[in-house]
Symmetry: C3
Subunit: 466 residues, 3 copies
């Protein structure tokens, strides 16, 4: 593009734009929270009266004790998990962790409002509790996923703009799936991963940079950046059972979700290692696969983990998703970039998009295959919430609606991503020129010595400092 | 001073001094624990009988299940949070993480005793349970804060001596506030942050080093040390809701504290980013601000989080504290150093002192504004513990006592800090000369190759290796 | 050996061998899980009926809520704790974290089966719940420990083979101790640490490499690798109270285990620091000791933590184990290598073997010293499960059986380790030549620039670079 030709001339100075956006939006949050958000019954000081009314004999019945440990695990996944997973680039660690921090901190506030209007609105107020915090983190998770596709190529303002729109669209999509289609998706294979990934891939397609090879020397990792990324990987991997079980029904459903996810992830590690080695001439393992594809097993049971998938079912799903994801990194990512002009920095197509689809499909099949024999009479109704107007829904119809949920999520992602991508393409957001992508120095004060040093080491024939 | 003129001649050899102090104190702990500390009813094997007496029908009513997850989060904050937050210096990572580990491990033992005598003493024994562990971690948190002010300038023995005295003073101050003034301060804005920070600032003032610019080259960060520090930042940020809710009343109070803190911290990130960019000529973000000021929102709701601050109130407090803290790093820290001779390595004045004061004030206002309408009749009494001799206390009187708590904490910090600073100034503790500050090599075996390498890079005109 | 003489000629290409082993074993897991593994009552959708039968009034009585937070902490210890603890080597970070990930992910699947057959087998099915997940993680912990002895010297296939056999032997040993000897060992001093460590030491003895000094330059750490290792250390240290309490009885036993472990670990840090400084001529602290010996206190109360060890008893045990472990690193490890030809990369003899023995002995003594007075009549029976055929067992007899448990664990470790070591010595597994040990480049794609750079720095006789 013409703008790119201008090179260094692009104005990436954030001095007034970023503060303005941050402060304006925070003021908007304060006003909207002031008008709408209040404590739910279990967090309100009137809880003693509530307890009496609900005939609860102990404070331990407060939802806080059912969900707070899972909430904290999810919180770690969003901020440390996604944040550090993206630090693998040699010169974009500040941006990875720092911008993820910024967009997630904004996103959770906006998500509390958007999801609150759809799901927790009573008498003109949004009543929040720990489940709302988890859902806000979930919603923001989809933005973190999309961030993975455009990592290193956008300004922080673009990320905030994207977060604003994506949270909005996420909430609409979630409402359609959960409320209108009455679909189950506790771990978000469809709402979080499929939607988030295809949204991000569409955005990065629209923002296609033809000259990105100019910053090719910065698109790799260094030894220690790969270790930092493993912190992110492991926290995502370890806490994924909490992710998939965090908002499931109390009792057996939470318990079951955790077990299924644990099994799926364990299997996924083995098939990822197998294919990572197999697809390399020298049989060496590739950190990119270990950092990412090992997590596909968590994505792929996101919908079905709370169902009676069974441990061996989980092993099968985890095994397949590890293979699909690793093969994706080796063959699909280069293809997407060269043929479809989709520049996917972190390979979210392999980690979230394809495993998300698998997750949606496995969920549909598992739902369609449900029987009263397997779930028990009460368990069957409870698991799929076949009450009220849904009393007559059969498993096969439920499976159909689950499948419809995948399609809706994809449509929302493509259409929404295209629109938001178009907005982000406006030349006012301060993104960097192609040769300055994947470089913290554009938006961050970077310590001098190390910077020049690393720069020298890896680009011996380039001039001293940028 | 004369001692400093001696330079390298200072004796920093810890060989007999450090072991002596560590072993003497550990023996003292064993003796005192042997005389005083026993398991509380909920951790004692007699619990079955206790359960019957208290008419509890389930083991889940054991306080362990209400507080253990929060305890573990707090534990991570003290050891990984504070420890890694301070690894930002290029050559003091071992000292940051290692000395924090040492002083905290000693401090929690001494705190179990000190706080036990004040709060858990029955029939000549201190009876401990999970709440005591949390409180011990809290108490040590105030020592970790003070450590931030003197980071890189003291010997490990000085830190142990400081921990001994500071834990003692902390416990006295806490007793005055919680028991005599009947003040609420579950997240410790006053007892932990205000006290800890002003104590540390007073100590570092007394220990003022006029020639500290001699180690100026080591006072900065390198690229990867900034990423290590972000691990600390994020764990503090993510788990702060657990910190502020860990010792609140069961049920709604814990639930509410977590929500308020979550909201405050989210808002704080946005205003920190805004001001970090705004106050830089080139609009670039500064990792020092992101690592620290983003946490001010947790400090600033430490007193009020368990009250009906409301989510929008939390956003306001978080927003303000992020601004104050970032402005502090840009303008106050240099001023404190040049004019008041307060050398504050980590900027605890910005992260803990000012936000701690804000927290105390917000707590006083929130308490003074409490009404039976907002809290419910029972909730009102329960929230402020207006029972027994405090039955007649009104919200505005409570607000007054809360404000008095701030003043008492400040006085204790200044007087205590001055005395302890004086003790630490004695020339027997083995602290390093000014030109060797912020250098792990003084107290640690440092791997050779890397050392000489980094040394060369940043000090090209110095001889090859020490 | 002859093979070693061949040097670089050794075939370390994993391309077909590693994938074959991974895929074959994963298929085996799927088949075995399909035949045997089902959800336990608390994770099954029939839970509603179960609840009614068991007269449970609330979902909070589901074991999930008693143990899931501890499970997640244990999970972090296995994957981040052990994984990062071993990243201290300058050029083996990928292998440390990555192979630990691989062997643990395989091991937990196999452990679910093995332990399931012994402990959760009903009507031809293994019924699993959260406690099984914890036990699987525990079992794999013993493999991670053994991995520490052979770190850097084996191929990933060898690790998978070792995991297969070690998990099997662990489960047999555990069955003998817990079911036949009726021994208490909730934190696994005997089953996990003593068995795991002596097993690993025997394996590394069998795999003795006479020419290992050829890779001596890579056996040390660099500055940042030591900081990565501290992440592992701290997570192990912080979460050890969860480890020792995770499978204790509900209520006071879990509560007590956590307190005892907290106390023991705190004391251990002080004595480790003391002896680390004391045993160095210059009195400097050694990161190897801080990273490892500080954890000995957790190992050494593994058996007794759930008993009435008392807080001061824990301080004593923790203090002693810190001393023993540090002294071990300074004196025993060199002795073991030079005289007994036991090459123990991580010093597991000091961190797990000796403290594990201490733990077994302390457990035996604490059990033998138990009285109805200290435990209460009911508590006494509950703590040692003196019911059914064990109704007449006295504390002193229990102490004897506890001691027998140590002996059995040692025998299993020596015999099992010798056999498995012999299998691993076969020349088909693709391990590296002596001069390529402790080098990620053998099995991993390593980023080029950094690699050559670090390589240069530490091999001064190679051409320079920066």
């Amino acid at each position: 593009g013409e703008a790119e030709a201008a090179g260094m001339a692009k104005n990436t100075n954030m001095r007034w734009r970023l503060p303005l956006v941050c402060l304006l939006w925070e003021v908007a949050m304060i006003v909207l929270f002031g008008v709408f958000v209040r404590f739910g019954a279990e967090a309100d000081a009137h809880w003693e009266e509530e307890k009496r009314e609900m005939n609860l004999t102990s404070d331990i019945e407060n939802d806080f004790y059912f969900r707070y440990p899972s909430f904290q695990d999810v919180h770690v996944m969003i901020f440390v998990g996604f944040g550090f997973l993206m630090t693998f680039l040699k010169r974009y660690g500040f941006g990875a962790v720092g911008f993820n921090f910024l967009l997630a901190a904004f996103g959770i506030q906006w998500a509390l409002l958007m999801q609150g209007w759809f799901h927790s609105f009573k008498d003109g107020k949004i009543l929040i509790g720990v489940e709302n915090l988890i859902n806000a983190d979930f919603c923001v998770g989809s933005v973190c996923i999309a961030f993975g596709a455009i990592l290193g190529k956008t300004s922080p303002i673009q990320l905030l703009v994207m977060a604003l729109f994506q949270v909005t669209l996420f909430s609409v999509n979630e409402y359609i799936l959960l409320n209108l289609l009455h679909v189950k998706d506790a771990g978000g294979s469809m709402t979080i991963h499929t939607f988030g990934a295809y949204f991000g891939l569409t955005v990065t397609r629209i923002l296609y940079r033809p000259n990105l090879e100019q910053s090719k020397d910065k698109q790799g990792s260094v030894y220690h950046s790969d270790l930092f990324a493993m912190i992110g990987t492991l926290y995502l991997w370890m806490y994924w059972p909490s992710f998939n079980s965090a908002i499931s029904d109390h009792g057996d459903a939470q318990h079951r979700s955790a077990i299924n996810t644990y099994c799926s992830l364990a299997a996924c590690v083995l098939t990822t290692m197998a294919f990572s080695s197999m697809l390399q001439k020298k049989g060496k393992l590739d950190m990119v696969h270990i950092q990412n594809a090992t997590l596909a097993g968590g994505v792929a049971v996101g919908t079905s983990a709370e169902m009676m998938l069974t441990p061996y079912g989980s092993l099968i799903v985890g095994s397949i998703s590890g293979i699909v994801s690793t093969v994706g990194y080796v063959y699909f990512t280069p293809f997407l970039e060269s043929r479809l002009h989709i520049q996917d920095t972190c390979g979210i197509h392999n980690l979230h998009a394809m495993p998300g689809l698998i997750g949606g499909i496995v969920g549909a099949i598992t739902a369609a295959a449900a029987t009263e024999d397997v779930y028990g009479k009460e368990g069957f109704i409870k698991a799929f919430d076949f009450t009220g107007v849904y009393q007559t829904r059969t498993p096969s119809i439920q499976g159909g609606f689950q499948a419809a949920g995948i399609v809706v999520s994809l449509l929302m992602a493509f259409v929404g991503g295209a629109i938001v991508g178009g907005i982000l393409k406006l030349p006012i957001w301060g993104d960097a020129a192609a040769e300055n992508c994947f470089e913290d120095d554009v938006y961050w004060e970077v310590p001098e010595d190390e910077e020049s040093d690393v720069y020298h080491m890896h680009n011996p024939d380039k001039p001293a400092s940028p």
